[in-house]
């Protein structure tokens, strides 16, 4: 811990990233960090009926992520494991790295100019998709990135999303998106001793609402957030005024979601594994092995589901091509999946492709008229 009498502006540059699925208490965590002195870059997204106490989300970050997601053709709630490569690929682009680092530098400077410490809190439900981009921006600005991931039982998250955002996508899709988001957020923030890693903490939303002082101080200590460590009495009073235990209104269980059996099992096992990360010493090598296995199992499940439901995709493509009132697609033409596109086979996940015996693969290649490149 730094000397309390030291000049605040001389504290190490730190950016607290609050990650996790939407409706998991990320706004409460980020709002508390703001109250305790971390700077939320302005302007913020305005409070609304879905979050009456405010989001503590910088508007620029939301707009930035929205644009990047559009470019990557990834949805906020996207259940595709490949979506991580799509957003990761966007994050390698130099112009995006420059834009993100420039914004971060500006607001680290503003935080100090306003008399505070160079400690920011950045939160957005889309954040997990771009953690790597922000880690790079932190390295470029000499800041220490630290991560809090909020945990809430998936049945409550799905229920809350269905209530507040309209039940348009169905519980299986929302549960799969939760799995994809949380399993990969854990991987993206996994600790190591390298640069660009300042530490991470997992926080249960229920614990935060139950006793925010204990949880927040633990976060401050583990992540060395000077603003939290040196918060004054009035800030703590404001924290009590801000936290409303009645915010957690969802009480449904996983059984209520009526998920397909394998998805149900994976969600239940993943929640158990993630929940354990919030325990003291829970973030262990053994826990990482379990989470790696669950991530792999989810990727396999998704690949199988994707392969089985290919007809639905083709049907949707036909309908889109047809458009409202447009002519039906020419029946004589080859179906898109049957077209001899040389890249078609490469879109089959490698795990599935590698499972096909080489002799069978060669036979298929002969049937398709494809030659192995010389």
């Amino acid at each position: 811990m730094t000397d309390p009498s030291a000049d605040d502006s001389q504290s190490p540059r730190t950016v607290l990233f609050v990650a996790g699925a939407g409706r998991s208490g990320t706004s409460t965590m980020a709002g508390l960090a703001k109250i305790l002195g971390l700077h939320v870059p302005q302007p913020e997204v305005a409070a609304d009926a879905t979050n009456p106490r405010g989001f503590a989300e910088p508007q620029w970050v939301v707009d930035h992520h929205d644009r990047l997601l559009r470019e990557a053709v990834v949805q906020v709630s996207d259940s595709r494991p490949q979506a991580w490569f799509d957003t990761g690929r966007i994050s390698t682009r130099e112009p995006e790295r420059i834009t993100t680092a420039t914004w971060l530098e500006e607001h680290l400077t503003v935080a100090v100019e306003r008399g505070g410490r160079p400690e920011l809190v950045v939160k957005d439900p889309r954040l997990s998709w771009f953690l790597g981009l922000w880690r790079v921006a932190s390295i470029r600005t000499g800041a220490r990135p630290v991560f809090v991931t909020m945990l809430r039982p998936p049945a409550e998250v799905v229920g809350s999303k269905q209530t507040y955002y309209g039940n348009k996508l169905g519980s299986a899709h929302l549960a799969a998106s939760w799995l994809n988001m949380l399993l990969h957020t854990e991987r993206a923030t996994r600790d190591s001793s390298g640069p660009g890693v300042g530490g991470r903490v997992f926080v249960r939303y229920a614990d935060l609402l139950d006793d925010w002082t204990r949880v927040t101080m633990e976060v401050g200590e583990r992540l060395q957030l000077q603003s939290v460590l040196h918060a004054n009495s009035e800030q703590i009073r404001d924290g009590h005024r801000f936290v409303d235990p009645s915010l957690r209104r969802m009480t449904q269980t996983l059984d209520d979601l009526a998920l397909p059996r394998r998805l149900h099992e994976l969600v239940a096992e993943t929640w158990t594994a993630l929940d354990a990360l919030a325990e003291p010493d829970g973030d262990s090598a053994a826990a990482h092995v379990t989470l790696d296995q669950l991530r792999e199992a989810y990727s396999d499940l998704y690949a199988e589901a994707e392969a089985v439901s290919r007809s639905s995709v083709v049907h949707a493509e036909h309908r889109l091509r047809r458009g409202p009132g447009g002519p039906p697609p020419a029946p004589a033409g080859p179906a898109p999946e049957a077209a001899p596109a040389p890249s078609g086979v490469d879109r089959v996940p490698h795990g599935l492709r590698a499972a096909v015996p080489p002799s069978v693969r060669r036979g298929l290649r002969r049937v398709a008229g494809r030659q192995r490149p010389a």
Binding site: G88, G132, I139, R140, G194, G196, D292, S299, G351, R361
Partner: protein, 315 residues
């Protein structure tokens, strides 16, 4: 003929059955998720303490294949991994055959010979157990940003069949002055280092060295400049893996090697060529640490890199 014609692997011409190649995707259990960096090294003891720690942190696994080192490279490698606390991510093995040097020597060797660069590479990558791989050299050091970038891509890539190109910049060192070095930003050079492990991506023979096969079309992404340096020792023999300078004297393919030859000899003569930055680290800090942890990560972006472009950078 392409060496990868074998469905389950390839046998070498010399009949060394213990060094025949079995493709890893045909083994029982198949491949697991994640990325492995594969380093083929010979006498890299000086560099490994810088090369290994960031790579071990970024990758799920690192495989170091020693090819006849006489400077204690395997012992230094093991010690570096131990110091980093990541020895569990390292596997070391050795390949006992003399491998043809790039250039004329390589061209004269059949690709199914144990002495061929392409056979050697196929054998090395056949030891990989993950679905994605990074070819890496024993003198390539990731910067802080490079480490963060590869650490993300190493798991994000999943089953995606994409190549990843990583730019690198020569960092020339004088062992008598560890706080001083010369960073060559005069060359734009981004080679293909990341490849899926699978039947579409195996090694075969090119004119001066090996080349990895790819399906057509293939996805390829490039990382920004400033993420990796390649250590060059001014008092070492940096061109020992080439048959002779004539082997890289003329072709457009060998621009990078000619640039290295030019910079290396100019610095030995006391001249700093255009595009090369002389860098001095703070007292007590080695210039490799300074360049990779501070100088390059904090350098203004976009990084001002020269206009000499290698062929791989044009994909």
């Amino acid at each position: 003929m392409a060496a990868h014609a074998g469905a389950t692997g390839i046998r070498n011409l010399e009949g060394h059955a213990d060094f025949d190649i079995t493709w890893p995707w045909t083994r029982p259990g198949g491949l697991r998720a994640g990325s492995t960096a594969v380093l083929r090294v010979k006498d890299e003891a000086l560099s490994m303490p810088w090369v290994l720690p960031p790579l071990l942190r970024a990758m799920d696994h690192v495989l170091v294949v020693d090819n006849g080192s006489s400077d204690g490279t395997p012992e230094v490698t093991a010690a570096a991994a131990e110091r980093a606390g990541l020895a569990h991510r390292l596997t070391q093995t050795s390949y006992p055959f003399a491998v043809a040097r790039a250039g004329a020597e390589h061209r004269a060797v059949h690709e199914l010979s144990v002495h061929s660069l392409s056979y050697f590479y196929n054998w090395c990558f056949a030891q990989v157990g993950t679905r994605y791989s990074f070819k890496w050299d024993g003198d390539m050091v990731l910067t802080a940003e490079g480490e963060a970038s590869l650490a993300d891509l190493a798991w994000q890539v999943g089953d995606v069949q994409s190549i990843i190109r990583v730019p690198r910049h020569g960092l020339y060192l004088d062992s008598r002055a560890p706080e001083r070095g010369w960073l060559d930003l005069g060359l734009r050079n981004a080679e293909e280092w990341g490849f899926p492990i699978g039947p579409d991506f195996v090694f075969t023979k090119a004119f001066e060295w090996e080349v990895r096969t790819t399906p057509t079309p293939v996805l390829s992404i490039g990382l920004p400049h400033g993420l990796c340096v390649e250590l060059k020792y001014l008092d070492g023999d940096e061109f020992a893996h080439w048959t002779d300078p004539a082997s890289f004297a003329t072709s457009h393919r060998n621009k990078r090697k000619r640039r290295e030859w030019q910079v290396f000899n100019a610095l030995l003569d006391g001249t700093v060529p255009e595009g090369v930055h002389e860098i001095r680290a703070p007292a007590g800090v080695h210039v490799v640490d300074h360049v990779t942890r501070t100088w390059l990560p904090r350098a203004p972006r976009p990084l001002q890199v020269g206009t000499v472009v290698t062929s791989d950078d044009q994909r």
